[in-house]
Subunit: 259 residues, 4 copies
């Protein structure tokens, strides 16, 4: 049976006069995109332009809500209460939806950003608030979770709220033996060599495992592979991953409806 997989990238993360990422170049190689919603990054003009660019590249668009912390880029934990987080995620989805509607498309999935993504994988109240917000907004939207054991808590929360999930693996990030991502503070948290990232991506797609930092093999059945866009080499990495996957006979395309 032929494997199929999505390649996603977080994008639309500029803010006002500050530009981030080479979105347009990365868009040429990926099949879906997670767009920041104005809380950890982005602004209304950037959101509109990013949706428009994604549409012009034929990408499937996901919302990418994060903690409302511009100064920290959503990468540091913020102890929001469940009701605060529920309302914040709903706010972000609503805001982005105005721009998908403007450009005659729609949000197709939701992927949380940064510290929120990591925290909802391990904290039941956070998992519940995020799942509840997505479900209240549109229960047909799958939510992206960590592939493997690391995503089980969030998968259960999604299921309780009637949501499907998309399992995500990170060929350009290293893993801990327990299947969680190595923290960004770790010196080896990033894999930077395009060919190595591409090789890891093919392994993830074909063998459904991830190599952890200590060399152990961690099971990780993935529906989508993430390429980090806030990286100078992102366009080259995305292209290498796409090429390697196609050469390995993997169907590369937007995420299916999840599981």
């Amino acid at each position: 049976m032929r494997r199929s997989i999505d390649i996603n990238v977080d994008a639309g993360e500029s803010y006002g006069n500050w530009k981030m990422g080479n979105d347009q170049q990365v868009f040429a190689s990926v099949t879906s995109v997670n767009l920041a919603c104005g809380s950890h990054a982005s602004d209304p003009v950037t959101m509109s332009a990013s949706v428009e660019a994604a549409v012009s590249h034929g990408l499937s668009i996901g919302a990418h809500p994060g903690y409302p912390d511009l100064a920290g880029f959503g990468r540091r934990h913020l102890a929001m209460s469940g009701p605060d987080l529920f309302a914040s995620v709903l706010f972000q989805l609503g805001a982005l939806s105005a721009f998908t509607k403007l450009h005659r498309t729609a949000i197709r999935h939701v992927k949380a950003h940064g510290a929120l993504y990591l925290h909802m994988m391990v904290d039941p109240a956070t998992a519940d608030a995020v799942a509840s917000a997505v479900s209240s907004f549109d229960a047909s939207l799958p939510i992206v979770i960590l592939a493997g054991e690391g995503g089980e808590l969030m998968r259960a929360a999604a299921q309780r709220h009637g949501l499907r999930t998309l399992r995500e693996a990170f060929p350009d990030r290293s893993y801990l033996p327990n299947g969680q991502l190595t923290p960004r503070s770790h010196p080896d948290s990033l894999v930077l060599d395009p060919e190595l990232v591409a090789e890891r991506a093919v392994g993830m797609a074909l063998h459904r495992t991830v190599d952890a930092v200590d060399g152990t093999e961690v099971p990780a059945e993935a529906d989508t592979l993430c390429i980090h866009g806030d990286n100078q080499a992102a366009p080259e990495i995305a292209a290498a991953v796409r090429r390697a996957l196609e050469q390995a006979g993997v169907d590369v395309g937007p995420p299916t409806h999840g599981t």
Copy 2:
């Protein structure tokens, strides 16, 4: 022929730990409400709670977008470009719509806030950006404009974008002879006595005129009367206005679909 008119109030203008207005008390006397959208005031939790309270009082809900300037409460001019303003208004409408959908209602009209409201009445580019944003979001939403001559520029912009308008008069604000509102910096910009506000409201509804600060009578055919909610006496004023209008035989109810 019996007159009918709406009474509206700007509400949902708390922010985080800071509370503003006596929304619930004012809601008992008005028929529509304009809810802040998180840019000049409000936050996701406040937006959700405000929609819920409005629904429970049977009010017609409007979006109340303003300049993205929390520190200035949207009351000082911010020289946004047309594209920036267009995207900002769209962002605000989208964000609020997530909460009207959550509470099984919908946005029924749009009223700009503060300095944006005043500037769009006199500046063609601003009028165009706001009308275009509302029209892109939902061309069936009427937009609130200043009753009388002061609203003509905005009415024309609305019409160019296929929007209907609701003409608004302010019984608790004083007017200049040209039909514009007296600036808030003016010592007599506010009318504070509930009975005087009520009397002005009846005059507006029945005679379709406004008395200017210099005593001249300014024509002002209004579909809706605004009561300012950020005023300690707002509940009392709203109640006096409602009572006086009903005693004068005016039908008080949510705005019709505009003209």
Copy 3:
């Protein structure tokens, strides 16, 4: 030997158009004030006006830095790195110092706000970053710590950076048996009856203990007693505390140089 103690209040916590607290009324009864520095609350105009009001009441002025989180009023934990927190505290001290200089006075102590105050009492890296920032700004400024066991970690950090400390007790907050404050999420976290607060204040000043929520007596030698200003009854509570302390023969006055 006669006891002496300071009564402090957190103030200057309005933001733009949003007002908080009855600062001027509370100022009549306290002897020192901790002024917000624009990160969890306050703005430049509020900072200037608050310093001016404090000077006119003869109060000793402290800086009240908090997490840079207006939306959360500095009351939720934000996982700032040590260098981020160090720089943020320094920024806040510098900003406030422009206004103390304008009004011909100076910052006399530093008291952290909300979640930062609580976190620095238990987290070594946070304690170190705050102490280091205060010491870099002006090593002669004492820093306020929790009286009793709860403040020991922070006292050690202060000492490492050459800072003196002022031990603080909270007659209007309840305590856990371990000497920490009961979290605000707890239904009995606040003591609201002015006479009861006053009685607790006298007990703290004379017997150097605090009654915990379970009735146990916790040792708490305090240099200063905090009255929460974001409370409708704050003026009445502050007056009751002042009166009771003076009637009990306690000298009420600004903090000494700490220990």
Copy 4:
């Protein structure tokens, strides 16, 4: 008599995760630097690092306050009241001073940013608020004004508040015949060729005139020349300007105490 002139650059304009400019490379060629103060750009960590870098290059440090509008990078007019602006500038100066003190240096001059710089040159109330704030903070700090006729209104405001001024010309910006800068919205507002910028800089230093966009020669006696740092070519431009000035026999050095 030998001419002497300063070369200044606006720097420290990153924000959180968003980087701007090639500060370190430009610092090699300029003699003074204007550092953002956290309102239109920058954050506490960036402010500290920028002061440190400026010190290590032996630059004279100026404060660069702007409108409190991160989303607009301080480049759009914000209608602040005089008291709001006065307090905002003071706040910014105080905040930066904490970092100059940390790194054992001091603020040596003040240059307003973007829309505030332009507005204070033409609006008496704005000129007065800025001059008053600088004078209240430290009356020995010269304030940077537009060279030529365009700076006369601000020079008068500075003199009323006992401040000296540094006259600034912009070799990489084009001028209107009235001596004001061509608005950034104009297609020819920037001069991008390093050799042309260098040639204009030498003309400004030696002949004390500026060529306007229409070819007319505008008198502009300058104490300092600004190189824009938010430009990919800034390091090259700064180096070309420095080299050309030195080859022309001009003494390049930090601003004197102003006039």
